[in-house]
Symmetry: C2
């Protein structure tokens, strides 16, 4: 039983590996902006569910006649919400500084969507999806700390301008929900979705342990 990960996120890959599952990596090649525009207005959970599904289905569409895919396909997408507004990657230092000045000392929501296609025996047989939302509370950090953090470059390429599994960990005081949803992949939700498909999570363990 193999897991095909339809995502290029290094954080999702690292999360799966730590959880004992080495996936087959496939790049979904989805135009996320076009897919979101075609769907019309969506809230955070609706958006990440749509894009997670689009990524997983893109793999099946591309490889529909490739009976080599014998396993399950996972698509994932995440978005950060503060005051009802969704935020992606800031990309630029000044944008990252602005975000942090707005979010320090406050609580936002990280939505992670998951879509799993049961593609055992080379055919899509069933699919299930779900969204895991975790609240994230930020420390009330100083302007100097914001400048030091932005100068590392880390916040520029992550949704919400923060990580919880790297330098940003010092600036997050509290999470309510699955902490792995904050990284982009709730392993416990994935276990539960697989169970709905009749698959036992521990059967996917394939990373040698020390």
């Amino acid at each position: 039983m193999r897991l095909y990960l339809a995502s290029t996120s290094p954080a999702r890959l690292a999360t799966l590996r730590a959880a004992g599952v080495e996936p087959v990596l496939v790049s979904p090649g989805v135009d996320e902006e076009a897919a979101a525009a075609a769907a019309g207005p969506l809230d955070g959970p609706g958006l990440v569910q749509l894009l997670a599904r689009a990524k997983a289905e893109a793999i099946v569409d591309t490889l529909v006649n490739d009976r080599a895919i014998d396993g399950v396909i996972l698509g994932g997408d995440s978005a950060f919400e503060l005051d009802g507004e969704l935020f992606g990657k800031p990309h630029h230092p000044e944008v990252a500084r602005e975000r942090w000045r707005a979010q320090r000392g406050r609580t936002g929501l990280l939505h992670s969507g998951h879509w799993v296609i049961d593609h055992r025996d080379g055919a899509a047989r069933a699919a299930v999806g779900g969204v895991s939302t975790a609240s994230v509370t930020f420390a009330d950090i100083s302007d100097a700390e914001i400048d030091a953090y932005v100068a590392t470059g880390e916040p520029l390429q992550v949704a919400g301008a923060f990580t919880i599994d790297s330098l940003g960990s010092a600036f997050i005081t509290r999470v309510e929900g699955d902490p792995h949803a904050v990284v982009g992949l709730s392993v416990s939700l994935l276990r539960s979705l697989l169970l709905d498909l009749g698959i036992t999570w521990s059967d996917l363990w394939n990373v040698p342990r020390l």
Copy 2:
């Protein structure tokens, strides 16, 4: 500015490194059972605070005349609580199985104690401590999943018979608190304690970034 970590826990070391701080490792050599017995009855937070302090102070006692320690010393200790009872490492497979049969589908508390001694310029000048407690909710996993998890050996050597940063992640559905406290070291609490000593967290960053 160096951080001296008075702990042999690989999880605490990995957490600090991911947060950008490569510590100097020092083994505290504290007889935890004797220290706890000498203190008398303590609740979970009281116990982990006592042992975190004992570990940090053991380093100062050993190296009191060693002016080479120019920085801060961190001691840490953790305990898992369910139904008011404290649990350490199960060590034996049958004990780990029993713990999981008792805790699946339920919520416990992970207490992590921290003690920081300001030892800049080669002398102990001040000390601060704090406890970070996070609630942890377990999935209602099957007997077969418990057996598979225990067979990996992972739960035997960790307090509460689970990890959140490794195979156990699939079996934890929710955390309320700092997820890093579940691993044994709340980075955000450490940042706050250092601030009380007049030290800015980002000044400790010494791990090269990609």
